[in-house]
């Protein structure tokens, strides 16, 4: 920790090594959005309920609003900015478009990252997808299409 209370971190962010300083009280969400400009990470409830802030840490989905940035030192973080490109979408991004799995789009980055992590858990049926996605809320109510998009990529 430096004299002014800031803490030096080394992260791997979307595949790139990065050194950054953070206040002790900052969440990973605030660090990513406000300091590093990765605004694909959304702040919804900021209390761990809505899932809009979902990112991958070491390949596992977490809620970045409940993670203290300082505690993520050394971690490998993936945000939506690290998933696909306009010319080369991730299969789940393409499936979201095909299935119209969004309306306003605010929850979508979190839905996609959560869905990618869920796909790695190989859900066995639609019920497992619904259960596995319960940590991501969609105020527009696109749930049936979100489940359909994930199911397609899962081969269900």
């Amino acid at each position: 920790m430096s004299d002014d209370g800031r803490i030096a971190l080394s992260l791997t962010l979307n595949g790139r090594a990065l050194d950054v300083e953070t206040p002790a009280c900052a969440t990973l969400l605030d660090l990513l959005r406000d300091r590093l400009g990765l605004t694909g990470v959304k702040k919804g409830c900021d209390m761990g309920a809505c899932g809009a802030c979902t990112v991958l840490m070491g390949g596992r989905r977490i809620k970045s609003c409940l993670a203290l940035a300082a505690a993520c030192d050394g971690g490998a973080i993936t945000t939506i900015e690290g998933i696909g490109t306009l010319d080369d979408l991730h299969p789940l991004q393409a499936a979201f478009i095909r299935h119209d799995a969004l309306q306003c789009g605010y929850c979508t980055p979190g839905q996609i990252l959560s869905g990618i992590a869920l796909l790695a858990e190989t859900p066995k049926d639609l019920a497992a997808i619904r259960e596995g996605m319960s940590g991501n809320l969609c105020r527009c109510g696109a749930y049936p299409n979100i489940v359909a998009a994930i199911a397609e990529v899962a081969g269900l």
């Binding site: 002790a24 009280c25 209390m47 761990g48 989905r61 977490i62 300082a70 030192d73 996605m133």
Partner: protein, 329 residues
Amino acid sequence: MSGPAFSYARPADVAGALAQGARPGAAFLAGGTDLIQLWKAGLAAHAELVDISRLPLAGIDLADGELAIGALARLSDVALHPRVMAEHPLIAQAIAATASGQVRNMATVGGNLLQRTRCAYFRTQGMACNKREPGSGCGAAAGETRQAALFGASAACVATHASDLAVALTALRAELTILGPDGERRIALPDLYRLPGQTPQIDTTLAPGELIAAVQVRRAAGLAARSTYLKVRDRASFEFAVVSVAAALRLEDGAVVEARLAAGGVAPLPWRLAGAEAALIGRAPDARAFAEAAGLAVEGAQPLADNGFKVELLRRAVIRALETVGATA
């Protein structure tokens, strides 16, 4: 929103953590899923967070009939551990019913046991709550009591404990290893918690600077084949229990020789149903035995204005859980 600023420390070893955690104003940070929420809501004010999440207390070991889970094991790692799933399915089921996938990847076993009540009067600044602000009164007892406890409450506090895992571990007679400035001690899990009485602001029997190092479950192998965690809640997923029941039986020659029952959502701590357990011993696992046990499970319930339905719900949940584990066909 959010509480006062804190400093952050990440001690390199357990000894360092115990030394730093004992300092006034310090709190241990593990997964943070409850502590950071509490801080953001202005319900926790600590001068320093001592990050223990990387200490070597996250192992999951099965040897000599004992399951030992490090307190810093993440919930998802416990629930998806092949031998936990096979030999302690009650634990795996209770965790699978807990929170969401993201939270289970972050939250630790010790932190789950130590989460504070979800009572809305506690979680909302400005409401009367003796647990948050001693002497301010119990807003819940005088207000919305749907979620309130049936057992173990006091005039000062009617809040319930929300951990699913604690209910399963209570049924399995788990013990905790506690580390602190004065060394190591072992306690039965329910003894971690205290009833509210006149001091509901104190949730547990941990002394300042103590931390949970591990959870041990012994002699539970015979219960694996007949165990279940039944969670009744207002939503199908990502919701706390209105009522939950952990049940396990061991049968020999068509009779119950071992019975384990605990309930969640009904008391300030995971609630052992000892009378119901005892009533099942030596009995055939049939509807009459289950109904009698369920009747004993709700004996002594003290419902308030809005939670009387939980008495019948608990009775029926006990019966359903016993039917699940007692099926002999």
